[in-house]
Amino acid sequence: MKTKQVTKYLFRRQIIILGEMYLVTFVTIYLLPFLLSLITGTLGSYSFTNILKNSPISGFFGFFMFVLAALSYENFKFLIQNGISRTTFFEAQISVYGIFVLIGNSVNLLYNYAIYVPMTHRMSFNLFMSGYRYFFSNGGVTVLMNFIFSALILAMFTLMGMTIGSFLSLFSKTMQRVLLVAVPIVGGVTLMYVVGAISNAAFRYTWIENFTKFILGYTSQSGVYNPFPVMVTMFILSAVMLFIVKYLFSKKQLKRE
């Protein structure tokens, strides 16, 4: 097995792409407004802290991981040229994304706890903090659970990207374009229909609503939610997606161009 070499290769290539994504983002949300206000002569209204307060920097990471994970075909091409098996590619890719999620998640939380909160005095800096921070009375446990909860969300995004990316890479370029246009439309319409149906009075107080409330962690205490059902759900979904991705990786082929 050449997992070690492949992991090293993928890590180096993808950390560069990740870095480039951050660079582009920083330039767009910090530097561009600065330059604009410089040009328009309204430099006085430019406030770095304001931008920092209002931009979800830590939220970008999940999105970046999604995009990065969806672009797996390029690496497959290089690896199959060099006699690397699909299984090794899969294992190395999962290791690399695992490391990325751990690093990214740590940096995110560190940033939020050490910079964002002291600066803005806003505690609800992510999904866990907005919904579930009152469930635990111990501050340390809250931070730990926040870490696990956020890591699970990132894993979900990453695996979703991998699933979509490797599913699309099974098809020809034309078919990929068709799917990229058709799926969101069909999905959107379906979602609208489902949401419409659920919000319809007839569905209220049915098992669907109860189930949703259970997953979201409603408790008898108002404003306090239990994070464990969501976490378990995310864990199961991740495991299922991992399984699907492994299968899709084993089906990867060089396309006829």
Binding site: M1, V6, K8, Y9, G83, Q253
Partner: protein, 292 residues
């Protein structure tokens, strides 16, 4: 000694059968010529052999172990192909470093010598290479990786005559210094005719011929003379084609000549691989479609 076996491999794209029950064994230390017209299935076969695509049925083995999803076996092969699987933004040096990491070692000395000889700047980005230099760079990789089976799919594509000459010499040099198996897929038969030790002819997805070149050529006979005498002499033999020049006829026979008496008016000699290939891949009598 390692052995690369393709057994009963079939593959179709839609309703087109690209490969039909292909079985070949490649021994170590030989140079094979994989010949076939465009669309005969050469590239598909090489892609299946290196696990880039999957066969519909059949399997590929190295030393009786299936190569599918097998790092150890896949690492014994390198396929240089027309499709580019390297990223355009990487420099040649970077690609070499990455290739070395995957294969475990790399003959840097040879790569450097070849780069100088072909005047290839290793700091160039892969995407900036011309068609010819793209081929040259991939050939350098193919000669420098530590594999037992080097598969070259149309290796001299886009190379000028001078570079082709240089490449064939370097191929032999590399082969004598480090004997391993070369499988060269090409439609430029004349250029490789004396280079290869074994010839495989693929036509419409089937193996037409799979033999040492010497044995094949010993079975080629061109029979020249007056039409009547030539036809009488070759009656019952495997005549695969003919040429007419006025009253003089050449019948091309593939197979053993029995000890029938040769008339004074008729002359015998051998003919070459190129001719044999053309006749074998254009099955009907006398029809001659020279390509290229």
């Amino acid at each position: 000694m390692s052995m690369l076996e393709v057994s009963h491999v079939s593959k179709s794209f839609g309703s087109k059968n690209v490969l039909q029950d292909v079985t070949i064994t490649f021994d170590e230390g030989k140079i094979y010529g994989l010949l076939g017209r465009n669309g005969a299935g050469k590239s598909t076969l090489l892609n299946i052999m290196t696990n880039r695509t999957f066969a519909d049925s059949g399997e590929v083995k190295i030393d009786s172990e299936n190569i599918n999803d097998n790092d150890a076996k896949l690492g014994l092969m390198f396929l240089m192909s027309e499709v580019n699987l390297y990223s355009n933004g990487s420099t040649l040096d970077q690609i070499i470093a990455d290739t070395e990491m995957m294969y475990g070692s790399f003959d840097h000395q040879l790569a450097k010598r070849l780069a100088t000889k072909f005047e290839l700047d290793m700091a160039t980005k892969f995407g900036k290479l011309s068609t010819g230099y793209n081929s040259i760079f991939k050939l350098i990789l193919a000669l420098c990786v530590p594999v037992k089976f080097v598969l070259l799919d149309e290796p001299v594509l886009g190379l000028d005559a001078n570079h082709r000459e240089m490449f064939y010499s370097e191929l032999i040099d590399s082969f004598t210094n480090n004997p391993r198996t070369f499988i060269i897929s090409t439609h430029l038969i004349e250029e490789v005719a004396n280079l290869i030790s074994d010839v495989i002819v693929l036509d419409e997805g089937r193996i037409m011929l799979d033999q040492p070149v010497e044995e094949v050529l010993a079975k080629t006979h061109s029979v020249v003379g007056p039409q009547r005498d030539v036809d009488a002499y070759t009656k019952g033999l495997n005549v695969i084609g003919h040429d007419d020049m006025g009253n003089i006829r050449v019948n091309y026979v593939y197979g053993e000549l029995d000890d029938r008496r040769l008339p004074d008016t008729v002359q015998l000699s051998n003919f070459d691989l190129q001719k044999l290939f053309i006749f074998l891949t254009n099955q009907f009598e006398g029809s001659r479609h020279y390509e290229n």
